[in-house]
Symmetry: C3
């Protein structure tokens, strides 16, 4: 059985997420649905793209990932479904799927145009319920992705900062700040190759790089190889974002 | 298999919602449980009633909807279960089920009085766990609603504002503000009949009525036919509630 | 089928909880997973321990409870799994399981050391995903707890305040403040034996003890036998924590 994950900016205060699940269960009553998160900041396509890319590999083969962060709902962007070697990705073609897809082997990209698989009447403001969730439910029942609509050759790619590696440093930036206040960078942990190094913001040394949070005293900063594969700046039992004033876009460098 | 939805004001910070699910799974281990929302403002019967009414139609036939927004727990209001042509509704008879039931064909209303279907000892403060969740679990296993207790003829109805239609305007009010700051009114989208019109607050023009959020520039107000069937006032990529100072109870008019 | 409960301090904003579930479903696709809460204050072992102890009895026999509140992740504390007469408990051996285990009949305590049951490579910062969730998934499939690693004789116990009973009073303290602002004490409701009494903070009378919230007018304080078995101080339709300035650690006495 294929499970479905949901990533949205709907919040959990209203009935919107529940309604997505109702729409799915109406089509496939035994489907397993897992919430990735519904607390993406409204319209924050980058954060949703990163969350999906950071977690997709931990789900079983055949999983169907649905992302509804869709500030352009009702206008021109296309709703798409993408089949990869590992599973399926369903959402608006606005870049939100692109970081995850860059890590997958894409087999086919289809526009969701066949009204037979819509919940009708299709609203202009809630394609999550009327187009994306039904498509995922049909995929979970085994429907071929080709049934949804015409194939297209490529998907919209989100601009994403690439770290710059030099002889004595790698320069990158913070790309995500998590619930604990850990600042996740775009510098792959593997690129440090075990060198003794430290993280800087301009000339200011922020933190040594070490293996785990508790390698420094409580309240002290430390950079660790994060669970998503990227270097992250943390404060042991505290918030690095608050303490070191880090946010998405802050430039950081690793020097050795 | 019948699924169960849960709508409460318990929040998600404590163990209360998990405990409801434990109580359900103890009675029916294979039951599917879907969270509608647990973030109703404590005691806000109107918001819970609206959330349920707005979403019930998207769940499969036979679904059992449980609502525990129950400021009178332990006092006089009756716990009830209601069977309709589409499914079941379980909760306190304090009006919280009434908006949804007004859209359904009611088949029978029974008081939850049979202690055989309670989790004992029944606490005076947590009927969700001890009375409502067990009743829903038994219904999901196929128990007849008649087993719970005596039938009653009617349910408590929530006072609800009715829009007033004139020759050149419909006057209504904001009945719900969602996570995005969209202000949902009690004016049915269908009542506009496609006329070119705009939304006013007193003499002040708030927004044109159009089809979707992106029909105006970012930051601009627009009223759209919302996904629940009612006109809602929005700001493209912003919060109408904050920008236009709208809240539940604010009077609005559509004029053409 | 054994279900799994999850209690963490991960929050629900990021992809961490979803990733735990992905790791579980990758091992046991049909497993039922229930969220107890993910909103424990980061590192608050006491709150997590109390939440688990207050709710474990409401889950079916055989349930596997996973707790990941683990400020020492990657350092010395051991990951353990505990089998009891009722079910299983999985988490770091930092005291977070101890309040629940004190209410259970412990059958065996095993360290999670067998890398065969890890998700590899094991990160230094996310044992929830790499060690605890996989262990729970394997237990849910019926794996013997003995396979995880060596048995140990005891588990780390959290210091926990014991109420002091006198001739005319019981002195205790607030141990948890819930979403509604109810202040749950460590005084067992059963210890009052139905006596007419009231709750004091020092010389100040806070509230009468009664059966349910509505026994006093809206806005008035009342202490009730809470749903977890302990006396709790509440304000009818209000927040006792805010109104009476109660927080975890505040001393309270019941006098008769």
């Amino acid at each position: 059985m294929r499970c479905i994950t949901l990533t949205t900016d709907f919040g959990t205060r209203d009935w919107f997420v529940g309604t997505l699940k109702g729409a799915i269960l109406g089509i496939h009553p035994r489907c397993r649905v897992v919430d990735l998160t519904h607390e993406i900041t409204p319209g924050d396509i980058r954060a949703a793209a990163f969350a999906l890319a950071a977690s997709r590999r931990y789900f079983p083969k055949g999983t169907i990932h649905v992302v509804v962060v869709d500030p352009g709902v009702g206008s021109r962007r296309s709703p798409i479904a993408v089949q990869t070697a590992r599973g399926f990705f369903v959402g608006p073609d606005n870049g939100v799927l692109s970081l995850a897809l860059a890590q997958e082997t894409v087999k086919g990209i289809h526009r969701l145009e066949n009204p037979r698989y819509f919940l009708t009447p299709v609203s202009r403001t809630f394609h999550g319920r009327d187009i994306f969730a039904p498509a995922a439910a049909h995929l979970s029942r085994g429907l071929s992705i080709r049934r949804f609509g015409p194939e297209q050759g490529d998907f919209v790619r989100l601009p994403w900062p690439t770290p710059q590696a030099g002889r004595r440093a790698i320069v990158g930036e913070v790309v995500y700040v998590d619930h604990f206040g850990n600042a996740i960078t775009n510098i792959a942990s593997s690129s440090l190759r075990g060198r003794t190094c430290a993280v800087y913001s301009g000339a200011k040394r922020l933190a040594p790089v070490n293996d785990f949070y508790q390698s420094v005293a409580a309240g002290q900063p430390v950079a660790v190889p994060g669970s998503s594969g990227y270097l992250e700046v943390a404060v042991n039992r505290g918030s690095a974002a608050a303490r070191l004033r880090l946010r998405v876009g802050t430039a950081v460098a690793v020097r050795w």
